[in-house]
């Protein structure tokens, strides 16, 4: 009876919190570098007993808990810390160290969907649509904006990418993992052409100037990987009015956001505009363009997404151009182009860690080139099938593997217009195929260290060499906000189509990249320094006969500094490239610096957004030292240099929201100072005539009014410039 009562009392006593002896837990908390951390939350796991660290990192609190337990420290910019401790009377002072949260290394492991890969994220540059649109002189063109980044040459008479001593063919463009064979508009020579694709189509623009992983093939110098958008959030309509054309588009999205599609149509005629800015080219028919873009996205089940993107463009232009072979030194040139692209991809999430991707890409490009004496019709088609399996085997090991199969059909026909009737020109037709298989593993032996090993094999039916095996390796070490990486790899590319007709004479052109990279990222500020060496071999030569004996090298340093937090609304970057390169290829009799290489290139780009009044002002200054040009009378080959290039571009935009419409008025000036820009010279074989290849206008003006109806496109501030 009595002990029942006692047990009840005991029960009641234990159900209430008893008063035990209090123990003082105290100590100091610091980061890796020994800097005290204030505001850290230090407490005993599963309890509310704890305290915050003060300005000097000191913390102290009393606890009634005793014995073995776990102490937790949490700080907003540090990785959570858990330390097992034994609480005894008179605890000595604790000394805790916390590790900074890192984002660079984790980026390296993340394998994103849609064929886009962040594997090279620590080295590649990523841009957003806004970055592209607001770069003065970039003209709203993805490639125009990339040209202000280090590693890219400033070649004013060609709009393509020339990266680190590589020619424009060495830079590849991919959309959702599928190759775009003709990413630039066709046009007459010596006028820079823009890339075909509006930055608004993409949510990710990743530009890699070397040392890229095994996921990318057939590119010697650079890979521009674009990722198309997912479902838009709202149905919307957009209208663009420019001095040379109009554009209209509509996006539809189903209420559950499982189906969406969009169409964009554009028409432009540059005639009146070129007249207005005083374009120097002697146009017979200024360029006329018709463009259509279409996309469709459909969720399939819970884990599948089907995407289709289609593009079609027709363009036609005719001008008088320099032609020292013609009687008048000038002859008419007509360039008519039609281009179609279809990209179909399907991504399926197998489970939390594994994804499979299948894609089919089709490119069809036709150029008709008419001179008074002949005409050429060139049709190039490519089918690509791509498979990609990616996943995580463990937290330390991620794997990507896949294959690419390409089928090409090339058809080049030249018709001499005044030839003898018996002289028939045989069409040059070639069907070719390429097979690539690749795999890549990222392994993280230590938390701060990541090793990436890749292998890519390539086989090409039209080439003499057997299956190529290209190993690629990179190591990235991260310490706080700093990351260091070293990488090396072999890369190969097939020669241009027109040289492949002499079946199995040529080989893959090859290059080995060696890179050292340092990067520091600190909230809104990025510093990147990269040194590289590229060793080229088996470059194609056209003299004395077609062969694969060319070689060369490129070495240099790229510097990039970007600050987006210096002042409210201000974003600026500075990029500098040093390049030393020589090569012997095509018809070069000696190894020398090629025409597309300047030793020093500098860009300053600044943008200021004045939010309260909805005004945007931007400017850029670009400098490049002279490049070699060919003078037949010169004593040594390519020993002459063009003058240095200095250019200032400005842009200005006013943003207004009226009712449901979002309006952007854009005004931009290229070559603001009106300085004469000489990119190259054309010199007659006797050396008597020397014609400078210049910027085709003194100042270029752009005026546009862009209207978005519905809300989704309102983030397209400074909407699509040309």
């Amino acid at each position: 009876m009595r002990h029942i009562l006692i047990s009840i009392l005991l029960l009641i006593a234990t159900s209430q919190s008893a008063v035990f002896a209090q123990t003082l837990i105290h100590g100091q908390i610091k980061d890796r570098l020994g800097k005290p951390l204030s505001g850290a939350n230090v407490f005993i796991k599963g309890s509310i007993e704890g305290s915050s660290s003060d300005e000097e990192g000191y913390f102290s609190f009393e606890t009634s808990i005793a014995g073995d337990t776990v102490l937790i420290a949490r700080h907003i910019s540090m990785i959570d810390l858990e330390v097992p401790i034994r609480i005894v009377a008179n605890m000595p002072a604790l000394s805790l160290r916390m590790e900074e949260k890192t984002n660079l290394v984790s980026e390296v492991v993340v394998v994103a969907d849609q064929g886009m890969v962040l594997l090279d994220g620590s080295r590649a540059t990523t841009l957003r649509t806004m970055d592209v649109e607001t770069t003065a002189g970039g003209d709203g063109d993805v490639v125009g904006a990339l040209q202000t980044l280090p590693g890219v040459q400033q070649i004013g008479n060609n709009g393509a990418l020339f990266v680190r001593g590589g020619s424009s063919e060495e830079a590849k463009t991919l959309i959702d993992g599928l190759e775009i064979t003709h990413p630039y508009y066709s046009g007459i020579p010596d006028i820079a052409q823009k890339s075909r694709f509006s930055p608004h189509l993409f949510e990710g623009i990743t530009f890699n100037t070397g040392g890229y992983s095994a996921l990318y093939g057939d590119a010697l110098s650079s890979v521009l990987a674009l990722t198309s958008r997912d479902h838009p959030t709202h149905t919307s309509t957009v209208l663009a009015l420019m001095l040379y054309g109009v554009k209209a588009g509509h996006d539809y999205v189903s209420p559950e956001r499982r189906t969406s599609f969009g169409v964009d149509l554009g028409y432009s005629d540059f005639g009146p505009y070129f007249g207005w800015i005083g374009h120097r080219t002697q146009w017979l028919e200024a360029p006329v363009n018709q463009t259509a873009n279409a996309n469709f996205r459909q969720n399939i089940g819970e884990n599948g997404l089907l995407k289709w993107y289609g593009y079609g463009n027709l363009s036609d232009q005719k001008a008088l151009t320099t032609d020292f072979d013609a009687a008048e030194n000038e002859s008419s040139l007509r360039v008519k182009n039609s281009n179609a692209v279809s990209l179909l991809t399907y991504t399926h999430k197998l489970n939390e860690h594994w994804r499979i991707y299948a894609g089919h890409g089709y490119n069809d490009n036709r150029d008709l080139i008419e001179r008074p004496a002949f005409s050429s019709a060139i049709r190039e088609r490519q089918h690509q099938w791509r498979l990609h399996l990616s996943g995580k085997i463990s937290d330390r090991l991620a794997v990507n593997t896949g294959s690419d199969v390409y089928l090409n059909q090339w058809d080049h026909r030249t018709q001499l217009l005044y030839s003898h009737p018996t002289q028939k020109n045989m069409p040059a037709i070639l069907d070719n195929q390429r097979w690539d298989v690749w795999m890549d593993a990222s392994y993280r032996p230590l938390r701060n260290l990541i090793a990436q090993l890749g292998l890519r094999s390539a086989w090409n039916a039209a080439l003499r060499d057997d299956i190529l095996i290209m190993p690629r390796l990179s190591l990235t070490y991260q310490a706080g906000r700093n990351a260091f990486s070293a990488s090396a790899g072999n890369y190969a590319q097939q020669p241009a189509a027109q040289y492949l007709y002499n079946s199995r004479v040529l080989e893959h052109a090859a290059v080995t990249h060696y890179l050292l990279n340092f990067q520091r990222k600190n909230f809104g500020r990025t510093l990147r320094v990269e040194a590289y060496y590229k060793d080229y071999k088996d470059l194609m030569q056209t003299i004395p006969v077609l062969n694969a004996g060319g070689s060369g090298y490129a070495r240099g340093v790229d510097l990039f500094w970007r600050d987006q937090v210096a002042a409210e609304g201000l974003d600026y970057w500075i990029s500098y490239s040093y390049l030393d390169t020589e090569r012997q290829y095509l018809d070069y009799p000696i190894q020398t610096r090629p025409t597309f290489a300047a030793p020093h290139t500098l860009h300053l780009v600044a943008k200021q957004f004045i939010e309260p009044i909805g005004v945007f002002v931007g400017g850029s200054y670009s400098m490049a030292t002279g490049r070699p040009y060919y003078d037949p009378l010169s004593s040594s080959f390519l020993s002459d240099r063009t003058p240095a290039f200095h250019q200032i571009n400005l842009n200005f935009a006013v943003l207004r929201k009226w009712g449901k419409t979002f309006n952007t008025f854009v005004f931009a000036v290229n070559n603001f100072t009106g300085r004469q820009q000489i990119f190259d010279y054309r010199i007659s074989p006797d050396g008597m005539q020397k014609i400078a290849v210049e910027l085709p206008y003194k100042r270029g003006f752009l005026v546009g009014w862009f209207i978005s109806i519905g809300k989704d496109r309102s983030d397209e501030i400074l909407s699509q410039l040309p």
């Binding site: 939350n41 509310i48 949260k101 009044i613 983030d715």
Partner: protein, 217 residues
């Protein structure tokens, strides 16, 4: 024997009472812990240090009582307030922490209007990091969250206030502005006035800040 049976019954009763008590006890314990913090938060005029201190205390309570909605909610709210008092480079990390607790609050009470208001409030804190890049997309997302909040409780004064505040700080060029915000601010004040008195523990913030905004006219 009869006595013994009575005693057994008595013990059983006590045990049942104790067991029941334990449950309500846990809630009372959390309420007891939270109440002083909530009162401090509602009083306002807190320095960054005060907020950091409070955030850490509420974080400890929230982690120790993951099923308590109030604990999760106030931990999230305090981190957002702290973000609003912090330099830009700290905002995203603080908002990530707020998001961690807000997600838990949403798991406990998926249909609570206040959760969505807090999500919208969190997004407006994030916009401050880079209004130029984030304004349009996050502003839109914030509005969607407020729509969800108002669908669950059309009278929620905080939903009206966060919307009015968003309009107030959006430049006129982008469809916002002080002038345009006036009507919305007035409407949210009315919503606050008409809102029935809440229990001491329930969300009760926003009115002071609203009155401050109204005082600028």
């Amino acid at each position: 024997m009869k006595k013994n049976r009575f005693l057994s019954l008595f013990i059983l009763l006590i045990l049942i009472m104790l067991a029941g008590n334990r449950q309500t006890n846990a809630q009372q314990v959390v309420s007891g812990l939270l109440l002083p913090k909530v009162e401090q938060l509602n009083k306002g005029n807190l320095s960054k240090q005060d907020l950091q201190q409070l955030a850490n205390e509420l974080e400890r309570i929230a982690l120790a009582h993951p099923k308590d909605w109030h604990a999760q909610y106030y931990a999230a709210y305090t981190y957002i307030e702290l973000a609003n008092h912090s330099p830009k480079k700290e905002i995203d990390n603080l908002c990530d922490r707020a998001d961690e607790f807000l997600k838990k609050a949403m798991l406990v009470r998926p249909d609570e209007s206040e959760n969505y208001v807090l999500k919208a409030y969190l997004l407006s804190a994030r916009i401050n990091v880079n209004a130029m890049f984030r304004g349009a997309s996050m502003g839109r997302e914030s509005k969607e969250q407020l729509d969800l909040a108002l669908r669950r409780n059309p009278n929620n004064p905080r939903a009206h206030y966060v919307r009015a505040m968003g309009i107030y700080y959006t430049p006129a060029a982008f469809g916002g502005g002080k002038k345009k915000a006036k009507a919305h601010l007035d409407a949210s004040l009315t919503a606050y006035r008409q809102y029935p008195a809440v229990s001491v523990m329930d969300p009760d913030w926003g009115r002071q800040a609203l009155e401050k905004l109204l005082a600028t006219y």
